[in-house]
């Protein structure tokens, strides 16, 4: 009888504990052991990350500052340092790829490391987890800890790191899987958001394991043809479709680029709205041009206190110049709408991206003239930084600079 030579799948999920706050505490010993709330920038009122100590008081991501201070009166607030987080994530990736060739950076502070084909080097997955923890401390500092989850698929590996204590290692096996799925809530399951959780609760389903008592046909009327089978997979502890797509996404170029910004206060100034949209468009085009791409689906979104507005258009051609995109977004889409509310959040996107080399060049002379100007600006930007050159309409406007998001939606742009 031929021996089964396929090694058992072993996937680890590494999750740096309270990443943003932990790095600030690593940097400044005066902050260690204290409740820290990280704000996007000084003056903001929403906590985007909380230290382990702040979490014990009930402070969490998304808490308003006022509520957080009621929960933890000694809370220290510190502005985020996104450049630092991005650089540290790059260094983390370097550590991981030295340990295994199968690494997927899932977000700024999480990664999947597949050691299925490295088991001759790491026969003990728990020992591998300790090695990862040690290497992270050596590289980033003794205060930086992580939780490591181990299992035979990404869903369960991530669940394992989610439910274990900070700075610990936990494995979900075939033996303990069902008991764990019967105990955890949906908030611990990757891919299940609050709205889905509420819908499940209306059906009386509060733990993933309970999904095994429902058929796909019974779930479909409430959850539709995608989520019904997906929930069944989650209930059985199988890899979700979304997580299994990560390998495919790895080899594919970016399909869209977007940028949103929330203002400090509601805005009713047409000038400010115009300037903000231009700023965001400039950043969008900078990224698209850097990747040598162009897109043909353009969109704009604006949010007020309780209202929102959204418009988009698919073009017959691709765009990759700031003025061209801004004209579409502002002159064509925005100005065709009569604004009825003050704006707090702005968003622009460009999708259906293709590489420029794969596109048929245009014959329009004006476009080529603008392209030469754009290329000259690209050269100055490459040397002196983004917004070294800006239009007269933005003089006096406090430029909104690029920032990396926690879930790394544009990680390909950052080379992660």
């Amino acid at each position: 009888m031929k021996a089964n030579l396929t090694p058992p799948t072993r996937i680890t999920h590494v999750d740096i504990n309270s990443y943003f706050a932990t790095l600030l505490q690593q940097e400044n010993p005066a902050l260690r052991g204290k409740p820290i709330g990280v704000l996007k920038s000084a003056g903001r009122t929403c906590i985007i990350a909380a230290s382990k100590e702040a979490k014990t008081f009930g402070v969490k991501t998304g808490s308003y500052l006022k509520e957080a201070l009621q929960l933890a009166p000694h809370l220290i607030t510190v502005p985020a340092e996104f450049d630092r987080y991005l650089d540290c994530t790059r260094r983390l990736k370097q550590i991981f790829v030295e340990l295994s060739p199968d690494v997927h950076i899932f977000s700024l502070d999480e990664a999947f490391i597949d050691i299925t084909h490295c088991q001759h080097i790491y026969p003990d997955a728990q020992a591998f987890g300790r090695l990862v923890q040690e290497r992270i401390k050596q590289e980033l500092g003794e205060w930086v800890t992580c939780s490591v989850g181990i299992s035979h698929n990404r869903l369960l590996a991530k669940l394992a790191s989610e439910i274990t204590r900070p700075d610990s290692i936990f494995e979900i096996t075939e033996q303990n899987k069902d008991a764990i799925l019967a105990k955890v809530g949906f908030k611990d399951m990757c891919g299940v958001g609050r709205r889905l959780e509420e819908k499940l609760k209306l059906l009386g389903i509060t733990h993933p394991y309970e999904l095994n008592f429902w058929t796909e046909a019974e779930l479909r009327p409430t959850f539709g043809p995608f989520w019904a089978p997906e929930l069944k997979r989650i209930g059985a502890g199988e890899n979700s479709h979304l997580l299994s797509l990560l390998d495919k996404q790895e080899s594919q170029p970016m399909k869209s680029v977007g940028r949103t910004i929330t203002g400090y206060q509601l805005c009713d100034s047409e000038l400010h709205i115009r300037q903000t949209l231009y700023n965001l468009t400039e950043e969008l085009i900078y990224k698209v041009r850097k990747m040598k791409m162009a897109g043909r689906h353009v969109g704009i979104s604006l949010w007020g206190e309780e209202q929102s507005w959204y418009a988009h258009r698919t073009l017959q051609y691709h765009v990759r110049q700031t003025r061209e995109l801004f004209k579409l977004l502002y002159n064509d889409l925005y100005q065709s709408w009569h604004r009825t509310f003050k704006v707090i959040k702005f968003g622009v996107f460009l999708s259906d991206l293709e590489f420029v080399d794969d596109l048929t060049p245009t014959l329009i002379p004006e476009w080529h003239r603008q392209e030469r100007v754009s290329q000259a600006i690209d050269a100055v930007t490459a040397k002196y930084g983004l917004f070294s050159i800006k239009p007269a309409s933005l003089i006096g406007f406090k430029m909104i600079r690029p920032e990396v998001t926690g879930f790394l939606g544009d990680k390909k742009y950052y080379g992660l």
Partner: protein
Amino acid sequence: MYQRINEVVEVVGSYTGRGFTPKRFKWQNNIYDIDQITLKNDARDGGRHLRFYSVIVKGNAYRLRFDRDEEKWLLEEVWYEG
């Protein structure tokens, strides 16, 4: 809170197998001997390469910034309690 300073400083250090390690800096005619480097990170602004060192001097935290292209050191921020 961190207080922004952004003043040019003079830095002395050593090159080892792991790159440059700042040992002390001079700010406003005072010498600061670095007790510990707690974090180091790189950033780019266009073509400018920047390296940041978070250092501790007598229990207080400072952020130094080195512009690798202009070879200039800046004391970027100092931590103030309260």
